[in-house]
Amino acid sequence: MTDTELRVSKIQNGTVIDHVSAGEALHVLSLLGIDGTEGTPMSLGMNVPSDRLGRKDVVKVEGRELSDSEAEVLSLIAPEATINIIRDYDVVDKRRVERPEEVGGVLVCPNRECITNAGEPVEPTFAVLEDGLRCEYCGELIREDITAHLRN
């Protein structure tokens, strides 16, 4: 067990998100819709030493396994992250996040005049660009602060 892992307690069932870019852990929690009021046990390490990244953040969430769509958005704010799914204290799945070609279902288009904000049966979908996201319906660009557009 490394010094880094010692800083935050082990979890029984849930997700450990490791190698999050330093300073992005709070955005990851925002992505997961966790603000601490849910009562979910959760540990956070920020700016801890990392061989690979120099400094990194680590997020451990009890009782919650990251969905594929959440993992896709995670890749946009923490491209180096690894996701560890924990069951009964064991890592049952470990994977690097992969940058998808498009993401759907997790973000809301910031353009109020977009058809995806009009109460129609359509899932907001975004093409992943080198430097941001683009709504597949109205073409609106999201180039900064992606987490501000997460669906509540």
Binding site: C114, A118, Y137, C138
Partner: protein, 303 residues
């Protein structure tokens, strides 16, 4: 052209555009060229916003091809008033017609509609998004007057919300065209269109005044600046006056400058300009019929 729908001008290659324009030219020469090939075809007109030219020219085009139209009528008289979704509306209309022409106030509406139906959808305007069939008739008109390569075009007015501008700018990136955008700062091109023009490597310059660039232009495409875009009447009047065209304005232009406008105009082109050789906007509107005939011919053809 092998497309199921016409949703944005971005989807059109140069070859696609030339195919439509060449076929439009054939219909222009001989409106009966399609014969009765479309005698059993019905085109649905679903206009959730007012329209005169676009709707009537699609109707004329369908009828000139030997087909007919079914018209949803105004929103006030339709099920939309009862809260029906667009997705449901187009799924119902799909059962009545062989193609759907859709105008809707929300951006991306035509794309969403196209995902719910198996018949071709033509985007006839989606809010401040796109208006690709207008662009095809604009290109047809530009080709007739100036050709589509090695030309300079000025695009002036409301560049931010003007869907005809957005579609035209995208389409022109297929050609050797220098694009000059002229507008007040508050109505400059939206970020998404700039992004695409940059990605396409387009030759683009932006100006707040027409004066410096006018003498170099082969085409001047004027659009309406709408009152509701401005916080107060005085500001609107000041800006609108600065971006309007009179016969005197044209003294500084090339003799064969083509002045275009998607219409309706209010006072951004003075009526006196109609009498000049430069006035091209009514011819442009007339071109809507052969161009939309060509477009329907390509989209509805099952072969």
């Amino acid at each position: 052209m092998r497309h199921d729908h016409l949703l944005t001008a971005k989807q059109l290659s140069r070859a696609d555009i030339e195919t439509v324009l060449d076929r439009a030219a054939a219909f222009d020469d001989n409106p009966a060229a399609a014969g009765e090939r479309y005698a059993d075809e019905l085109l649905a007109l679903c206009f959730f916003e007012p329209s005169t030219r676009t709707k009537m020219s699609f109707e004329t085009a369908a009828k000139r091809l030997g087909g007919d139209v079914v018209d949803m009528g105004s929103v006030e008289s339709s099920s939309v008033k009862k809260g029906e979704s667009l997705a449901d509306t187009v799924r119902v209309v799909e059962g009545y017609a062989d193609g759907i022409v859709l105008r809707h106030p929300k951006q991306g509406a035509a794309k969403m509609a196209s995902e719910h139906v198996d018949v071709p959808v033509v985007n006839a305007g989606d809010g401040a998004g796109h208006h690709p069939s207008q662009t095809l008739l604009d290109l047809y008109t530009i080709r007739e007057h100036a050709g589509l390569d090695d030309i300079s075009i000025g695009i002036m007015g409301d560049l931010k919300y003007g869907r005809t501008v957005h579609s035209l700018a995208h389409a022109l990136t297929n050609f050797d065209v220098r694009q000059h955008f002229v507008s007040p700062e508050s109505l400059q091109l939206p970020r998404s269109v700039r992004y695409d023009l940059h990605e396409a490597g387009a030759q683009v310059q932006e100006h707040e005044s027409l004066d410096a660039v006018l003498p170099n232009l082969d085409v001047l495409y004027v659009t309406r600046i709408q009152r509701e875009r401005f916080p107060d009447e005085d500001e609107y009047e000041a800006v609108a006056g600065e971006y309007s065209i009179t016969p005197e304005t044209l003294d500084a232009a090339k003799d064969d400058l083509a002045v275009m406008h998607p219409l309706p105009r209010v006072d951004e082109i003075a009526a006196a300009v109609d009498e000049t050789e430069n006035a091209t906007y009514f011819e442009q509107a007339h071109n809507g019929v052969p161009v939309r005939m060509a477009l329907l011919d390509l989209l509805l053809d099952d072969d």
